[in-house]
Symmetry: D2
Subunit: 131 residues, 4 copies
């Protein structure tokens, strides 16, 4: 009887660990999805408002395309995280790279710190999640 | 001089009112965008996880298509609110109608209250914003 | 026997008419989806290439936002037509209105005739399909 | 004079080659974008019509999520090819991998040959374009 109780206790502990792990993984994925959507909103809003209103270097093709590409891949990465498949690791790799480039481009303009911060945060979290 | 001061005071008050109004309008639009994105996430996640895992009536074509349509129009309404144009009033009208239908469909299944709530909240706010 | 044959012939004819109607409706919807995707591609490509490279009036906020809004609603209208629901009639209404405004805006710039044509064609077909 | 004519001829030839190359690259990218949009439409339509109507293994979570993920990344890859940036090479890598998996999953169901073909064609072209 003592052996069986030990086995049961071990099984319960293993199950508890597994559930905790799943919960942690889910929480990390939820937090990352929030960062992707925050970065999508920052890029889309800043491009179509701040950048268009400032003009000049803010609508230089290379910078502006980067912001639109960044908004698009962030939105898609969030969609992959919602679908419950493990494939979000693939989109996260691309998202990290595009967000990093977008952060650099925004930084050079000097008046887009909110967007720089959103891109850097998203890039770092996505890089950790990527394959 | 007294007259000029009165005019200045009136101009300042008018300006303050205008700025307050703009700020209020912006805050309402931001709150609505959050509701649209919350509803998008709820529908997309529930359809591709809860509904697919339950099967049966949860993957009945009419219900499932409604959830996917609702996710799509909520995401697009949020995009219109980010672009800074007044055209989000158009997408909000469609969004309100689709969200209402989706809430009804989810309600009949009995175990999707979170999605019902997200759809109802989004539908009501969108209806107020729509033309 | 003669009566039964008449009834059968009438049923067959009714069925043939119904199938022909369904096929026609499907073909019209497919053609419209193609127009929406063509307009999406035209607006997205012209905005991020032609307009950004020209600068000046081509990146004036009202014009540029309109092109991005138009690309987004065209893409979403196409998505609704793919889902097999009758709700594409709702998005078609918005799509018609946004495409019409975008065609007008492109026309004033004088060097965007391809985009004008894509928007006008999509606007007209969407208007016919809309509720 | 003869030397200068030789130099001019060489410069003209180099320019002609460069223009031909740019035109070829553009044509390849346009063809790939068409394949991505064709695959998007095939997956989105088949998932929300054929699969939902058949039920059973067609709405098994792993298969259905794959189709929705595939539709999403194909649509996003097309968007990146429209933006005129070189970053479409990144999304093409993910697109190739997801399309390949989706083709395999559709093949096992036995009655989705159109979708298999669209996914295989898109996967192959995207793989060639990817970094």
């Amino acid at each position: 009887v003592a052996v069986k109780a030990d086995v049961d206790a071990a099984a319960l502990a293993a199950n508890a660990r597994r559930m905790l792990l799943e919960k942690t993984v889910g929480a990390i994925r939820d937090a990352l999805r929030e960062q992707c959507l925050a970065c999508y909103q920052s890029c889309q809003r800043m491009a179509l408002n701040h950048c268009l209103e400032r003009g000049g270097r803010h609508v230089e093709p290379q910078h502006f395309r980067l912001m639109i590409d960044c908004a698009e891949i962030c939105r898609t990465s969030a969609a992959f995280m919602l679908s419950g498949s493990p494939r979000h690791r693939l989109t996260c790799g691309v998202c990290a790279e595009v967000c990093r480039a977008c952060a650099d481009s925004c930084e050079q303009l000097g008046d887009m710190q909110d967007c720089v911060d959103a891109c850097r945060a998203c890039a770092q979290s996505c890089a950790e999640m990527a394959d």
